[in-house]
Amino acid sequence: MKVNAILKFQLNEHKKGIMIYYFVMLCVIILSTGSVLSFQGVEVEFTGLEIATMIFLFVCGLNGFKEAFYLTLQNGITRKELFKNRLLMVMILATFMALVDELILNLLNVLGSQIQNFPISGLVEMVYGTFFSTASSGMILLVDIGFKIFLYAFALSVGYFIRIGYYRMNKSQRIAVSVGVPIGLTYVLPFLDTMLYQAGVITTPYSLIVLQGLAWMLGIPSQNPIMAMVSFFALTVIFSGFSWLMLRKAGIKN
């Protein structure tokens, strides 16, 4: 089967980045293993792989729009075809990275058990401890990989969504969003929240409700990683939906 050209292009776009990313990861692993072995009593925890990959894929999402879009326009490919293959690419990339990360974590686990003071843990294991101690090993492996796939797909979709959003905005809108959103989230909303709470207008601070909502969505209180997978999937669908709405009639810019 001939791979669709625009799918191939989009996959190709991230090839180099992924290679560099895993090369850096390898260096980090060697460095941390080295320091554990050479300095007695030093404890190095290796925990953030999934988060690092998520951030990396978020950035990939941010960078994965414009060039593919313009090449699409140059070569008479429709937006529909671009987007369809974009979704396919997200699935392929998220699955690939999830499998590689799972492999790395498992290898490190084997390595970690041989060395003292080198605890290795995956994100799922850390957040859903109860699930980990009760579920069967087959189930754990499945959830471990599945969780990563949905998390990574979500990260890619959010990055892509933001990039298209910026593309569709004009300069002043862009500045407004770039300044407004961070200030709003870090100062204005928390400030209002505190004010309202202290004034007795609301009995529970909104921020607390939001945090509880997030925890619920991620299935943390119920120790249910499936819940998180469903949430990430739903968010991926929502962000992709908005991306499509913005892409549908996007045109070339001068």
Binding site: A5, K8, Q74, G76, I77, T78, K80, I252
Partner: protein
Amino acid sequence: MNGVEIKNISKSFKETKALNDVSISFEQDKIYGLLGRNGAGKSTLLNIITNRLNADRGEVLIDGVSAWENSDAQRKIYMMSEKVLYPENMNGEAALKWSREFYPDFDMDYARKLANDFGLDLKKKVRSLSTGYVSIYKIIIALSVNTPYVFFDEPVLGLDANHRELFYKRLIEKYSENPFTVVLSTHLIEEIASIIEEIIIIQNGEIIQNDSCEHLLSQGYTVSGSASEVDKFIEGMEVIGIDTLGGLKSATVMGKIEASSVPDGIEIGKLDLQKLFIKLTNEQE
């Protein structure tokens, strides 16, 4: 119907009207000149035909089917745009390879031969090429895709005289061996006057001329002579422009002139496209 039909297309950007109810068609296997001053709406029109911009109103048909978001229709078209749509770190070699992926009839050997003729280093990335070589990079692909419709938007931008000559020659060669529809969009009318069959002039988002070159040229004349005689002669004629140099006057007039009615002191000359274009597009300022 075969060909590209543009029906009642309008497009605005914020308050500015870029195209206003434009209807034209490009027939199969003809060479068109799409002429207009900078900002007249040429690129906007081409962008709408090639699915790069969405029209506010109207539709574009390619061989009878709607062009918007239609891969089957778009596959028949290639447009070399003024704006570079290839990633800036993509070198010529890669651009050719990707073009072959997208266009099944892309002729790789021919493209390499052209690169060699123009002296384009295929190892260089678009980003590091001069304006002229960026144009060449795009020209090479446009001449090698073998689609039934090829649009060139300002193809000779930054090209020196030799490369321009080479471009026109290769284009004619390709066309005469295997005809396809060619649309040359430019403000440099003189260079393409002998190549184009049909001429479309666009001004302020509207089509002000759509005619065959030959017919258009037979529509007007230049009348020159002493100022007083010219004035007398052109009375009642449709005059689109006048140049005066001392006591000499040269008027560009539209319409037929009876050879026998021309007095001795008056000289009738052939209309030249460049002059006509300048006159027509100045008129509506």
